[in-house]
Each structure stands twice: as structure tokens, then as C-alpha cells.
Symmetry: C2
Subunit: 340 residues, 2 copies
Amino acid sequence: MTAGSGTRRQPTLDTVAAEAGVSRATVSRVINGSPRVSPEARELVEGAVERLGYVPNRAARSLVMRRTDSIALVLREPSELVLADPYLAAIIVATSRALIGTGVQLVLVNAQNDREHARLADYVRSGHVDGVLLASMHAGDPLPEILITAGVPTVVGGRPDRPVPGLTYVDSDNVGGGQLATERLVAAGRRRVATIAGPLDMTAAADRLTGYHRALAQAGQAPGPAAYGRFTRESGEQAMHQLLERDPNLDALFAANDMMASGALRALRAAGRRIPDDVSVVGYDDIELARHTEPALTTIRQPIVDQARTMTELLLTQIGGQPVGNPVILPTELVERDSA
Amino acid sequence: MTAGSGTRRQPTLDTVAAEAGVSRATVSRVINGSPRVSPEARELVEGAVERLGYVPNRAARSLVMRRTDSIALVLREPSELVLADPYLAAIIVATSRALIGTGVQLVLVNAQNDREHARLADYVRSGHVDGVLLASMHAGDPLPEILITAGVPTVVGGRPDRPVPGLTYVDSDNVGGGQLATERLVAAGRRRVATIAGPLDMTAAADRLTGYHRALAQAGQAPGPAAYGRFTRESGEQAMHQLLERDPNLDALFAANDMMASGALRALRAAGRRIPDDVSVVGYDDIELARHTEPALTTIRQPIVDQARTMTELLLTQIGGQPVGNPVILPTELVERDSA
DNA sequence: CCACCCCATGAGAGCGCTCTCACAGGCAGA
DNA sequence: TCTGCCTGTGAGAGCGCTCTCATGGGGTGG
């Protein structure tokens, strides 16, 4: 029990084998739960493991198994942005949570620029992780091809901007969500529904805009004015000012995320509009903030936890040697609060 | 260039050695930048590495080096809470950022309950990480002792509730921050300064409360009423109702974090108080939300990015064999907005 | 011209594990 | 009783790397 300086060498399989009076192979079998071990031997080994406090060395195991039992979560945003974006934070946490109990560990990797692409590819090929989860890709991102070509199991969060053979993804139904949001506005009797879209190099932004158009088309309305933001609060505020200038009579807004909606709210207030009386607003994401805006934001909730779980499941089965599965699209839901 | 199925075996040191016409040892020297290599040999090897696309196998290297070049960030909160807590999200991101360029990877570990303690200890002892960053410890947490005893380099975020020999920590100046916040209120001429403290089993909460008391004592004021929350918005709202009931004439509030402050704001509004005219409010943390409350929250900013950077630096030097450094306390600052 | 040293290089052991293969012993069937 | 099989066990190779140690060749000093 004298732990002392942790420098003391950890016991190895051989140590355990000697202590138990069996061979290294038998100890290995016990550790790995092989059925071909007699009860007596098993008991002997388990006692020795217990007494010695033996823990298998992962590096050694990895070396021979060619498998590390860990996966990488790669973030494709400048980290300042990650800091600000609650969606990504949620993805990180939800993923780590989805991994609990699987014995698989999560390695967090920032790779925003091209030098880091190369390093990342090397990192993965060096066998430090068994697979990669790619969060928040942008259009033209070369990483999926690099990874697929290197034979690395990969699952992307969000629909890629182009089909990549052998690449699975898990997305939420952004078209449906945009439609849901817009329908809500139309159903409330609004006739001039504007939108603040996100950067169209992100498929989520493009899809939400598609949903918006689809809903209006189905309602037989012409699309209202559209402006574009960068998913930030400030860009939302600015975009709203533009929209008001272009169409002072607009009576509803669909913003492609809550941050921009929050900025729009501020611009609307500054312009003297009452919400939702003069202008109804629906956001997207249902981040924490949406509950705290004035008025509280009606918005679209994305199943982030489900998405993270689905992504890890797909990745783990792929790592397990199963064929690459089909993309999964998860449903979104409308959260009704006070802004619409 | 036929990448084909990634199943093709990666080139090894031997492959490279054969290709370059030198020995494995020489290749190893080149890879590791040893000076004892002739320029010709170096060039030969570099060419071969390039042609073969060789990447060293980390497991093999770890095995012999007894070092993995990765560290664990251990979160000690139920993951639902992590999801909600922007502070922890920021720590995660800031840490991953601090690691860029060091060649060290970040492994995210959730360990909230006791079964997971054991698993975590085993995990670390199995040599999968070189050191551990411990975020948001609670009182009585056995993990530091477990890790220190196992000889694992460890750095804690936030002051532990008890001294642990051999354990470094990095904290922000919570006492000073609490004092700063309260002084702001006093300086504004407030005479009945209430507080909503956090759970006192977290030293950050206790320290902020100490700062509050210290500021009032120095100003010659008696402490106002105090209530306790769990750092959540709801608990803040509830605590504020209590406080108003106990002392309807209070004219200022220091809330130990922004979430609780935001809840308090809502309770104050519900009670018909104008902010900051009737009641001034100062929060703590300067999370994103603080900018969006109505009115925007005056608060204390913690140097999260600095903290994460300092923690990783301390850990890396410790892993590098340097003696355990002294605790570091980082300064906080007042962010003036509209609520006080 | 010889002795000495230094530097680049290669051979080989060993890190801790898994897994194949051979083998011993026990049991069933003929 | 003998053959055949099946089951538990051990020996040993090998995963890809680092590092020690021995070696040979070239340069310098006497």
C-alpha cells in the first residue's frame, strides 16, 4: 500500500503472471475476458491483479491491436468563435457525454487553418485516434477527402456542401426547421416576412433559407426582404437595420440563429417597433440566451444531444468495421415563447 | 498515389530505412532531430520519408518513451451542468487553444461520480495521458489525492478547499473580485447591499462572499441580507424573492455569478423595482449573457483564457520534470454596464 | 608516421502487450 | 484398450519505436 513516489514502475503482465503462477498468455486471456480459461486460473489472476493494482498499458495494447479506443472531435472554427458559440460548446459536451460507458476517449482538436490540416492528417494517421468527428465544416473544406482517402472512419456534423463518397453525416432538418419557423409567422397572419440568413457557405444557413422560401411558397406569399449575417449578434443587428430601411412595413422576421435574432431584437427596439405586436420574430437554435431576451425568443430547437449521440454511434460502428451508414437527419421542433 | 482502401499498412521506420539505404537508428535520429547525423544521410532519409508518406506511430513511441504527449482535462460536473455552464465551456475551449503548437493533445474526460473516479485513476495510470487538468472541483473531492499519490502531474483550476501537498492550482482572485463588485455598489452610494452567494462547498463562491464582507467592512457598513443559490438562473430568481421579503428596502445586490444575477433581475422586475435606479446589481463572470440582459449587467470578468493558459503551462513544465510550482492567482476586473 | 579521439553509423535489445501455434491431458466413441 | 477430439495452458514471435553500445573511418597532435 506504500504508493510512495509514483515513479515506481507499474506492474506489467509478466509481474502479474509471476505473482499468479501462470503464464503471461493466461493473464492476458483473463484481462480480455476470454472464455478459454479455467475458473481456478481466473481466480488466481484476478487475485494477483488486485494485489498488484495492475492496469494494462494502453500504448502497448494499441501497438499490437492497431487501435486506440479514442476518437477525435475536430473543430473547424477559429477558437475565438468556438468560445462564443454555444452550439459548438454543446456539441463538445454532448459528445463527451455520449462516450461515457463506451470506454472510448475524446480527443479535442482545433484545426482551423491549412497548416493544421496537414498536422491533423498526420496526427490521425499516426494512429492516435481510431476515427474522427468533424464539427461545423465550411464549404470547400478539404479535410473530409483527406481523411477518407487515408482510410480514417469519419462522421461529419451537418450536411457537407458536396457529396463525398464514403462520408456519413448527421444533420438536423434545417430545411424543415426554417419552414417550421416561417410557417409559424405566416400562421400568425403575417404578410411581410423578412429573413436574416447566415453565411451561405454553411449548408445549415442555406438550408434554413430554403425552408423559409418553401414555407412562403406553400402559403402563396412572395418572399420578403432578405439580408445576410455571420451568425453573430452584431451582424444580426446590422442586417435588421438594412431590412427596415428596405421595407419599413415588414411585420415578421425569421433569423437563422438566435444570436442574430437577439441583435435584430435590439435593432427593432431601437426603431421603435414593438415585439411581437409590430414585428414577430422567430430565431433558431434555442440557445440559453433565447430564454433571456426581451421578449423571450420563439425559436427552433435542434436536437444537439441526439446529434452528438448519433454521430458517435455511427462513428463507433464504422470503427467496428461495419459499412458506412446512411446520413441521418434529425427532426427539429418549434419552441414557442413571446417574440412570435 | 493509389491510396485505395486505407487498410494498406503504413510505412514503418524499417521501410524508410530500406528506402533510404540507411539503418533504422539513423532514420530515428533524423526524425527526432538529433544533431549526430551527416547532412547526406539526413537528406536521404527526408527524401524517403517524403516519398513514403511516413508518419511515426505514436503508440510505439509512447511505449518506449513512457510518455504520450497528451493531457486530460477532467470535468467534475454532471454533464447537464457543463452543458449549461458557459464558464466550463470556455475553459475547455481556452485549454484546447493553449495547447495549439505544443504538440500536446487534449483528452476530455467526464468524471462526476465515484465509479468514474476509479476508472479515471486507472485510465491515467494506464499511461494514456501525461498529466491531468482538473476543472471545477468540489469540496471533499478525493481525486487530487488519488492522482498525486499515483504520481500523476496535476493542476487544478480554482483553489482546492484544503491544501494538498504537491498540488498546484490556478485561481482567479475571487476575494478581490467580490470586493471589487461590492465596492462599486458602495461607491454608488448604496447602503443596503444584499448578496446572493453560490454554494459554499465551492471555494469560488466562498471567496466571493469573503470579498463582499471585506468591502462592506472597509466601508464601515453592516452586511446586508444574504441568500444562497446554486449558480443557476432559477436559484438566483428564488433567492432574490427571499431577499426582497427579508429586506424590502435593499438598494443593491451582488450576485456571485451572472446566471443568478440574471434570475435576480427578473425577480426584481417582477417586484416592480427599477434597475439600477431602485436597486443596483453587479454580477460575476462576464458571460455572453451579461451583455444581453435588460439592463446589461455590470459584472466581474475573470481571465479565463489566461487561466487556461497558465494551467497548461504549469502542467507542461511539471510533466517536463520541473518541480511543482506555486499556486497562481490571476486578477479580475470590473466591467461596467448598465445595471450598476 | 603513429597514436588518439571524435563523430557518424549500425546492430540489437527491449518497451508491454496480443495472438498463433504447439502441446498435454481428459474424455467420448469404437 | 486405442484413436480422436477438445479444452486449457505456455512458449515465443512480433507490433514500431528508442537508445545503448560497439565499430570504423577520418582528422589532429606529437
